[in-house]
Symmetry: C2
Subunit: 374 residues, 2 copies
């Protein structure tokens, strides 16, 4: 079944986001672009389903999905003409849809694809389906545009952070040596939705005692340790946009070493926020905090990147890490999340989302960061 | 940093699953195989992190991941030697690790890759990094093995279904026109963890009234409709393995049409279970139920596949759908989930997981399926 929009809606088949991509298409002399990465499609069209491909030409845009979404596309899709098929987009292209002279005036020579978001097998199938086209594999095609948030996107992310803060308050009432890590995680998932989030932005991390030294620990059925630290990393989704925040709190009396490490991580976190400037590379910003830890003798205990851009996906480009040569643009939202992990003892991570502008970087309003002792 | 296991653990670097893959490698005269699909890696090695690649030769197996997991690999990884790097596996291969004469006795000519689970860009980078190798892109390399469950896998899935049933009981106590779809979804996510699941197997679907006609609706902030049906599709994860179950319940008095459709879907569901036999194709089984609906005049209202295999991933091969030529093997667990969707009115879907054996198909013990009226 093919859903054609009315003539009257034709003017909606563009947006400033699409215009940016079309400009880039023009610069690269592309006649068409095939977007296969779902979060990019959501960013461009608002479609939230689990199967879609977006095909762009200079004038047209089609969102191709399957029959499960034939109702949803009617209310959700913006700036693209929905097309329902059970055959998949490659078969439709093979049959001459979209990019042949049949349904469009454009007969493309050069068709861009997301080389890093398309399987090798799909690339080969596309090549076979479009023998007349020159397929141009491109990397990070949408990334630079996606990193910069508009007012609406920023507002959704602020709402998501506000929910995360309310959830954190709820947790402070219930974290104790009487509950398990997974029970805390259950509260996070519950309140994320009860406070208005669509869902968890990622599986929450609740890691107590020596499990806190595993940066990506999954919540276990073990009780929260007394006289130790617990790392809580969580986020939710509002209007498709994520929050991501980490706090480390003390339960009972903690050692002087734990307090010292906490304060060192907090200092590093604030240093990261102060240092964040537009047009720095991810590597430069990461390096400032990494050197700080190294100068205090804890270089080895900081095993991950300082942060990452965030939006529809939790982890977006630019990554704020050792190897990232990508600039952090003004208008982006990034996380600053230094952590120190002492194997067999405990871990500390403190993370905020910050909005990077030409005036510096501001954390989205968030929970307090001084050590909380429960 | 490289983590080398002791000599004494070398004998653990295989398993019956790895043996099956190595036999297939031999049949295809492959000297090495690079597994890039995370759920396949979890299936083979038990590693649950978010970044990993598994490299297999006839005698060796390496699990390559990054520093976030340097502790986790020690307790979690089976049948492979963990290797930590911040450079990524392609750079390590370029530097001569694993597949050159340096760290292994094998100098491969033919190296298999998962063509459908590797991006075009990564494939090209690999080709460049391994100029001496012939890269062989393979499709569905692990699928046939993964579809057949062993006793341990079946036991985890039964535990997951048992939790889903307990969650369903909780929902029956709280579903009413006073609560929103999202509040019901919050309970699902909460009880999934409280009853011992690791997390939701997928975002729960709670779709009331005419929203039930959207097969993949996301839970909204609208209240559950009175005198209508609500579709609840949910699952959890135990030991990495998923459950997936759908029930449709009536809230208040529902129309005769709704009752008729409910009973038709139930009949179709039971027909699907009765008809499932090993070595049928997905298409054959799907066709039996599709014809049943068509014979009752509702062919158009069944817009998705009848089901799918399930395990570490919710949707695995074989798919039980119109185009699936893949056989359903004895020992597989599949879902049977017919549904009818009347746009603007309501939807009904009933889904169980069934274990397919040579003696027929048995649902994993599950919640009752007669219409429940709340």
């Amino acid at each position: 079944m093919m859903l054609r929009t009315d003539e009257s809606t034709t003017t909606l088949l563009t947006s400033s986001k699409l215009a940016s991509l079309r400009k880039k298409m023009q610069e690269q002399t592309l006649d068409a672009m095939i977007i296969t990465h779902l979060p990019n499609i959501r960013w461009l069209t608002n479609f939230s389903g689990s199967n879609a491909v977006l095909i762009l030409t200079a004038e047209q845009s089609w969102l191709i999905t399957d029959g499960r979404y034939s109702e949803q596309v009617k209310t959700e899709v913006e700036h693209a003409e929905p097309f329902i098929t059970s055959d998949g987009y490659i078969e439709e292209l093979r049959a001459g849809k979209f990019l042949s002279q049949g349904s469009s005036s454009v007969k493309p020579c050069r068709t861009g694809v997301q080389g890093d978001k398309l399987s090798y097998t799909a690339f080969q199938a596309l090549k076979e389906a479009l023998p007349g086209a020159e397929l141009v594999p491109l990397i990070s095609f949408c990334d630079a545009f996606i990193a910069v948030k508009d007012a609406d996107e920023l507002s959704r992310m602020k709402q998501a952070v506000a929910i995360t803060d309310k959830v954190f308050d709820k947790l402070l009432d219930m974290i104790s040596p009487d509950v398990t890590e997974r029970e805390v995680a259950a509260e996070i998932s519950y309140w994320n939705k009860r406070f208005g989030g669509e869902k968890d932005a990622f599986d929450p991390i609740v890691a107590s005692g020596e499990r806190g030294a595993l940066p990506h620990a999954r919540p276990s059925n073990e009780k929260i340790r007394n006289n130790s630290l617990v790392v809580i990393d969580m986020g939710c989704v509002v209007g498709g946009y994520c929050s991501d925040q980490t706090r480390t709190v003390a339960v009972g009396k903690i050692s002087d070493e734990a307090k010292k490490i906490y304060n060192l991580v907090l200092e590093a976190h604030l240093l990261g926020i102060r240092s964040a400037k537009p047009e720095m590379t991810g590597k430069e910003l990461d390096g400032i905090v990494r050197e700080f830890f190294a100068a205090h003798g804890y270089g080895e205990a900081f095993g991950h990147s300082l942060g990452h851009s965030i939006g529809i996906e939790v982890h977006q480009s630019p990554i704020i890490g050792r190897k990232s040569e990508t600039n952090i643009p003004a208008g982006s939202v990034i996380t600053i999340e230094p952590g120190l992990y002492l194997a067999g003892k405990f871990g500390v991570r403190i993370e905020d989302m910050v909005y990077v502008t030409n005036d510096g970087a501001t954390p989205l309003p968030s929970a307090p960061k001084q050590l909380i002792e429960l």
